[in-house]
């Protein structure tokens, strides 16, 4: 029986056009750069715009035991109020919740959760592109928790974009930095010690 180290589950949810899948890819690739094990499962509502899109990322110190869709998440990034109920029921007491306050409408239960209000879409617009809102969130997550390092995230950007999108590299790196700078550092460290 493999007994793994800590596994950190991250859920991302939003609607099409917010860059959720790219954000998830960035986290996953950054985790590899940080020499961690990682698993990512994404799903999105097909061809029509405005559909839901979500992703599960698990980062761990050893082989990952968690299945592709996890029952409970250590942290979550919520970009839009649609479809957030799926995330809600998977949060545990103590889970981390990053909310895109620019867009989110509705009540957020704050008892027992570590909630961070982040005006991600605003920050993204300021950083140059509204489409990078989710990437902003990932930058913030990195600052808050060190789940993945900022350096790794920055390095992951070119790997995660298709060849014909290389012109977007700097835009996304800027968004990461903007998000990273928008919150306190190490508020809730993901890992014991400091491997990265």
């Amino acid at each position: 029986m493999p007994s793994s180290g800590t596994e950190r589950e991250l859920l991302l949810t939003g609607i099409g056009g917010q860059g959720v899948q790219l954000a998830a890819q960035l986290v996953a690739r950054a985790a590899v750069i940080d020499h961690r094990e990682v698993m990512l499962f994404g799903s999105y509502g097909g061809m029509m715009r405005g559909g839901n899109t979500d992703a599960t990322v698990v980062v761990a110190e050893g082989p990952i035991l968690a299945p592709p869709t996890v029952p409970f998440a250590w942290a979550s990034i919520v970009m839009h109020h649609d479809y957030w109920s799926f995330v809600k029921e998977r949060l545990r007491p103590g889970s981390l919740l990053l909310v895109n306050t620019t867009v989110f409408r509705g009540e957020i239960p704050r008892d027992g959760l570590h909630v961070f209000d982040i005006p991600a879409t605003d920050i993204a617009v300021d950083a140059g592109n509204i489409m990078t809102a989710s990437v902003v969130m990932v930058g913030a997550l990195s600052a808050l928790t060190g789940l993945v390092s900022l350096d790794a995230l920055l390095e992951a950007v070119p790997q995660s974009l298709p060849p014909y999108r290389t012109k977007h590299i700097e835009l996304n790196q800027a968004a990461l930095r903007a998000g990273f700078g928008s919150v306190a550092r190490d508020a809730l460290p993901a890992w014991d010690g400091a491997r990265c």
Partner: protein
């Protein structure tokens, strides 16, 4: 090589290439499509060939032809496409062709087809069912080793989650030891030698003194070979927490990963529950399951279908331990994904219910 983030389908493709697969043919069908795309991109680069076949029947025919030359070859599909290939799979087994067939299934309803052989006759195909991308990269390689060792088609039984999950993997060629020389393989060189080779489901020797094929002799030998294969193959299984378990839960593939995860949690909470995850679905790890279940009050079977592997579980136990079905068909509406039921919480509830029936530890 260091770890790389790869989508499951890409990882399977790379593992096949690492295993020396140099021919692939396929026809798109979700979630098999991405394996084909990856092979179409990568095989030419490593000196192999990938053909975008015009149908599944043609795909497996092409793979059959390539395999007959001794080239490590694979094909595959999903659901309907796999069904179309059944004639060829059955007869490729009779022709002793080492061929790897990916069934990137949409649910687990193809268990019978894979393990009993959906085609005609008495052939059997070894079946390997990984629980995740990491295991898949190993089993995809093992499949070629088994195929070459036994000159028999091997089914790799994956699913939508496996195909579409990204994972950090480090794909290295695995050395499973030597395989028999392919002295039967065709390249034309034995033509005109007086001992020209023959690869056929009807026989394997030219009848120099006689006319036609001696089918009965050949079929009997093929059957004997199949029996030897079944006896010779390792029966792979992953067993956990069974030593003092009241309840043993059996599940395979992605479902097995969910069950493992749920059982780990329940154990951590003190419940006397274990799991058995068959990795080779055929031959089935019957003895290991029976061992693991000895002492248990109940064996529960979770599969994402209406009850198929449960037959093998019952055949393994032959009444020694009662068996209960806790799975069931469950599909998301797109028809692509597997199951809303693939949810650790749903599973926990089902297992909890069984535990309560058993008298509720802890």
């Amino acid at each position: 090589m260091t770890s790389q983030l790869m989508e499951g389908s890409g990882a399977i493709a790379e593992a096949m290439i690492a295993a020396g697969c140099r021919f692939f043919a396929g026809y798109p069908m979700t979630p098999f499509t991405e394996v084909l795309e990856h092979m179409a991109k990568r095989l030419p680069v490593v000196g192999g060939a990938c053909v975008n076949a015009e149908s599944e029947l043609e795909a497996i025919g092409m793979a059959w032809g390539a395999a007959a030359t001794g080239t490590r070859a694979a094909t595959g599909s999903t659901g309907q496409g796999l069904s179309l290939m059944q004639e060829s799979i059955a007869e490729a087994a009779m022709a002793h062709l080492p061929l790897v067939i990916l069934n990137m299934a949409r649910a687990q309803g193809d268990y019978f087809q894979a393990t009993r052989g959906g085609g005609h006759g008495d052939y059997r195909t070894p079946v390997l069912a990984p629980m995740d991308v990491a295991e898949a990269t190993q089993l995809a390689q093992l499949a070629f080793h088994i195929a070459d060792t036994w000159r028999n088609p091997v089914v790799f039984f994956g699913d939508y989650y496996l195909a579409h999950t990204y994972q950090s993997v480090d794909i290295q060629p695995i050395d499973f030891g030597p395989v028999p020389a392919k002295d039967w393989a065709l390249d034309g060189s034995s033509s005109g030698s007086g001992r020209a080779k023959l690869v056929s489901p009807l026989g394997d020797t030219k009848q120099r003194d006689n006319v036609g094929y001696d089918l009965s002799d050949y079929y009997m030998r093929a059957a004997a070979k199949t029996t030897a294969m079944i006896e010779g193959l390792d029966r792979l299984v992953d067993i956990g927490h069974c030593d003092d378990a009241d309840l043993v839960v059996v599940a395979f593939g992605t479902a097995g990963k969910y069950v493992r995860y749920a059982v780990d949690q329940l154990r951590a909470e003190g419940h006397r529950v274990g799991y058995v995850r068959p990795i080779s679905l055929f031959p089935f790890p019957d003895a290991a399951l029976r061992d693991a279940a000895t002492g248990a009050k109940l064996v529960a079977v979770y599969e994402n279908n209406q009850g198929q592997m449960i037959d093998d579980v019952r055949l393994s136990l032959e009444g020694a331990v009662p068996v209960r079905f806790i799975g069931g068909l469950s599909l998301d509406s797109s028809g692509f994904g597997i199951a809303p039921d693939f949810d650790v919480e749903v599973l926990r509830r089902r297992i909890d219910a069984v535990l309560t029936d058993l008298g509720g530890t802890p």
